[in-house]
């Protein structure tokens, strides 16, 4: 597939890289390749990689992309992958001005991949890793048959969301055994009220102390036996380590998990990443690269990228506007306690009007620029929206909150309340809009059964999908599996024992799992 870049594009790549460096972008070496539309669709279906393991879902994605393209719905201009060196693909039949825009866009993505902290733990040699996965899975196919491997892959892919992206950055307290506690340690924890010695028998009756001791000892035993020791979000890890799997199955599960972790930061930073790239392609193009006769095509395609339509929020648009808003606010000094505490809208609007924004900034020369470089380093979408979405911004960009109206069976605009909009946005960005599922007991009722729980945060699970997915968990676990979830304000326990699914209300006479959420 690799082909030498035509000399004119190679020249553009060099110039634009120089401009991008001058502006302060910092990226790994980036290798560009030209692809025709069918190759581009393949690469896009493979998630940006030239090699993936064989699976029908790539074929499905390929068909979708190809149809979208041939019905004129959408068009992929570029792909870029987070590796070192960075690989980027350009669509061969783009116009020269599109190539320039895309190259500038790609360099900003490359900068983001390299510098944003959420990408710090991604494997920069993923290109090789993906190819290794493909080889390993092909080998398993040869040994165990296509259907067996494909079916197992399907099962794993159903569960690929069940990872803990934050675990890469912190040490969860799960590891290490519970420290031994002897009788003296337990005695020390028993609560005794201060008393005179002749009253002690009455204030701290011995039978109460005994009861306390017994309870503490039981608690300790329970904690020691608890498996896992704390609720665990990385369900895939738990399955990998504890489920009864063949070696090849555990290996496939580990590959699916590894790839899920690799792609997770891209899901966590979609708005910022696209906003950042859009900010920079627009800056580089309008400042350095645009020829007069290319202006209109450039404008048309840029407008297409940031176009918004009712009911949909375009991450490119939201990202770039927020970044520009941050830059302006920091240039004008609209931040800090004094500004935040202003309640008078008029005063807020006038704030900093006297200051003049620097006309032409290169690199981090201005306060605003410096701020946005900092933002691209330490934020992800959730913290980005949480920190920088302001009522003024919501008002200016006419955001609204909508919800399903059962009486008209339509999506209906509810209001433009800032808090609600922000809450809704944050909700849909948290955990990729997927529910939080934890392993709360790996030996439920001492029967080797797996007990999962959904952490309810306002929205129920989809029951049909939940039961189907639970079947998949059971296929991996082998023993019966349970899922506790709150449905219509009622605690429900879904169970699948390998043959049938059942669903019952959680009552007190059911055995308790070792942890509760």
């Amino acid at each position: 597939m690799p082909s030498k870049l035509p000399s004119d594009i190679a020249k553009q790549v060099k110039t634009i890289a120089a401009y991008a460096r001058e502006e302060g972008l910092d990226f790994y070496e980036t290798i560009f390749e030209l692809l025709d539309f069918d190759e581009m669709n393949q690469v896009a279906a493979y998630g940006g990689f030239p090699q993936r393991y064989p699976h029908w879902r790539y074929g499905m994605e390929y068909e979708r992309l190809r149809k979208q393209h041939s019905y004129g719905l959408s068009r992929i201009y570029e792909m870029v992958i987070n590796t070192n060196p960075c690989y980027a693909y350009l669509l061969r039949d783009n116009q020269p001005v599109d190539h320039k825009t895309v190259i500038a866009h790609v360099y900003a993505h490359a900068d983001f991949f390299k510098n944003n902290v959420w990408f710090e733990h991604t494997n920069r040699k993923m290109l090789d890793e993906m190819a290794n996965h493909a080889t390993r899975i092909r080998r398993y196919v040869d040994r165990f048959g296509f259907e067996a491997v494909e079916k197992f892959l399907d099962t794993c892919l159903s569960l690929e969301d069940l990872i803990d992206p934050h675990s890469l950055f912190m040490r969860r307290t799960t590891s290490g055994p519970v420290p031994q506690e002897n009788d003296r340690d337990i005695d020390r924890q028993v609560v005794k009220y201060p008393s005179k010695s002749y009253m002690d028998r009455f204030i701290n009756p011995p039978e109460r102390l005994d009861a306390q001791r017994r309870r503490l000892r039981a608690d300790h035993l329970k904690r020691k036996r608890a498996e896992p020791q704390n609720p665990l979000r990385d369900v895939l890890l738990y399955l990998m380590q504890h489920a009864q799997l063949e070696d090849w199955q555990a290996d496939i599960l580990s590959m699916v998990r590894e790839e899920a972790y690799y792609f997770a930061p891209q899901g966590q930073t979609k708005i910022m990443n696209e906003g950042w790239a859009t900010y920079w392609h627009s800056t580089v193009m309008t400042r350095y690269c645009l020829q007069d006769d290319e202006l209109i095509t450039y404008c048309e395609h840029h407008a297409g990228t940031v176009a918004s339509s009712p009911g949909r929020l375009n991450p490119y648009k939201l990202g770039v506007e927020l970044i520009r808003d941050i830059e302006e606010r920091w240039d004008l000094g609209r931040y800090g306690r004094e500004y935040e505490e202003l309640t008078d809208m008029e005063a807020r609007r006038r704030w900093g009007k006297g200051r003049k924004r620097p006309e032409r900034v290169t690199g981090k020369e201005s306060a605003g620029r410096e701020k946005i470089f900092q933002v691209r380093r330490i934020y992800n979408d959730v913290t980005f929206i949480d920190e920088f979405l302001t009522p003024e911004f919501v008002d200016k960009h006419k955001l609204y909150h909508y919800r399903y109206d059962p009486s008209t069976r339509r999506m209906v605009v509810v209001d433009r309340d800032f808090d609600k909009i922000k809450k809704q946005l944050l909700f849909s960005l948290s955990n990729h809009n997927r529910p939080y599922i934890y392993v709360v007991d790996g030996n439920y009722a001492n029967r080797g059964e797996l007990y999962l729980a959904h952490k309810h945060n306002g929205v129920d699970l989809q029951i049909k999908y939940a039961t189907d997915t639970l079947t998949k968990v059971q296929e991996i676990w082998g023993r019966p599996v349970h899922l506790q979830a709150q449905i219509n304000d009622e605690m429900v326990l879904f169970t699948h024992d390998g043959e049938q699914s059942q669903q019952r209300t959680v009552t007190d006479d059911l055995p308790q799992p070792v942890h509760s959420l």
């Binding site: 393949q42 929020l313 909508y402 605009v413 129920d460």
Partner: protein, 366 residues
């Protein structure tokens, strides 16, 4: 060039066609094949397999949008679908504005339907003008505004007379471009579709919705294949009458069922208006298949063999599932007239079956 992904693609197509992996067919979703009439927003069917995963349920139906709407306004999901999606995960159904012709083409491609070979007088041709190109001269009424504007804008920018603060574009003679047309010869063929529907007590709203969808797609496909298409509508319980389109889909159901009455009505209509040598005649009958008596079943078969089938291109009988009734009529037809190649029967129980039903009706290419 053979791409690696073609193997995956092949595999996916096979799963979709149901040749392998029956277990995955459960998770197959299709585009809904819905056409909103008037505005023609259409979902293009792209099959996809939706692997189960833990996800949020229906009380998640809210989001954040952008625009001028006031509280209470509907959020129309008629985004053009260009560019990236919003914050909501895509549900793999594409919606797009397209013309009915394009829609029918997509349908034909999707279902691999052959083009219909019209019978009758195709030697008669008509002339038709089609706009197909651009040229430098032409009447002002055909001026292509967008292209002209772009040319003028480009010229002004290059020559330096464009002022961004006062963006005034003045067309010159050489900027102007016009649409041009080509005259094409087209064979003329006419078709009439006669829809008949059972409106007896057992046909409820749900059944009628299925009929409406099915009729929409029959309409779309036949209109794509014929120059002029006329539609006639007949409803019947124990008596049959011809009605207009609106009544056809909105008449309240009542009474018993005597299918032969509709067949008689169709026979009279064809006899009076549509000469089989000049018209391509399509007859579709929708019913829950619960005819009143054996003798009426026999009468129906007699009418079909003697009067209707010889003059028709196609008689399509579509049986919709109903909570009541035996649904026996389809068996009667198959037993008595299974040999006739102008007769095609299908069953439609849910919306998913419409897809297969249309395919069954039109795959012979008649």
């Amino acid at each position: 060039m053979l791409l690696k992904i073609h193997k995956d693609h092949q595999r996916f197509r096979h799963i979709v066609k149901g040749k392998i992996r029956e277990d995955l067919r459960r998770f197959l979703t299709r585009g809904e094949l819905i056409g909103k009439e008037g505005k023609y927003i259409v979902s293009i069917p792209i099959p996809s397999i939706d692997l189960p995963s833990f996800r949020y349920g229906s009380n998640d139906d809210s989001g954040v949008g952008v625009g001028d709407a006031k509280p209470g306004d509907g959020v129309d999901a008629d985004g053009e679908g260009i560019g990236p999606g919003g914050t909501e995960p895509g549900n793999h159904i594409l919606e797009v504005d397209i013309t009915l012709d394009e829609l029918a083409d997509i349908l034909g491609e999707e279902l691999q339907l052959p083009r219909i070979k019209p019978k009758g007088r195709h030697e008669i041709t008509t002339q038709k003008d089609r706009y197909s190109g651009i040229r430098q001269a032409g009447p002002e009424s055909l001026r292509h505004f967008k292209r002209t504007f772009r040319r003028a804008l480009r010229r002004q920018i290059i020559s330096g007379t464009y002022n961004p603060n006062n963006p005034r574009i003045i067309f010159e003679r050489r900027d102007k471009v016009y649409r041009s047309w080509r005259t094409v010869q087209q064979p003329q063929s006419n078709a009439v579709i006669i829809y008949m529907m059972d409106v007896s007590g057992s046909m409820g709203d749900e059944q009628k919705e299925l009929v409406r969808l099915e009729a929409f797609w029959i309409d779309a496909w036949l209109r794509r294949n014929y120059e002029g298409v006329e539609c006639r509508y007949i409803v019947h319980d124990v008596r049959a009458t011809e009605v207009d389109r609106h009544t056809f889909f909105h008449l309240r159901e009542d009474g018993g069922t005597k299918i032969s009455s509709a067949f008689k009505c169709a026979r009279d209509l064809i006899g009076a208006r549509y000469n089989a040598n000049e018209w391509n005649i399509y007859l579709f009958h929708f019913s829950d298949g619960d005819n009143s008596s054996e003798s009426d079943n026999r009468e129906c078969c007699r009418l079909l063999v003697d009067h209707l089938l010889p003059s028709l291109n196609l008689f399509g009988y579509c049986q919709v599932a109903s909570a009541y009734g035996s649904g026996n009529f389809i068996n009667v037809l198959l037993e008595q007239l299974g040999e006739e190649d102008t007769l095609i029967t299908t069953r439609v129980n849910t919306k998913d079956d419409i897809y297969d039903s249309i395919k069954t009706f039109f795959s012979p290419g008649k």
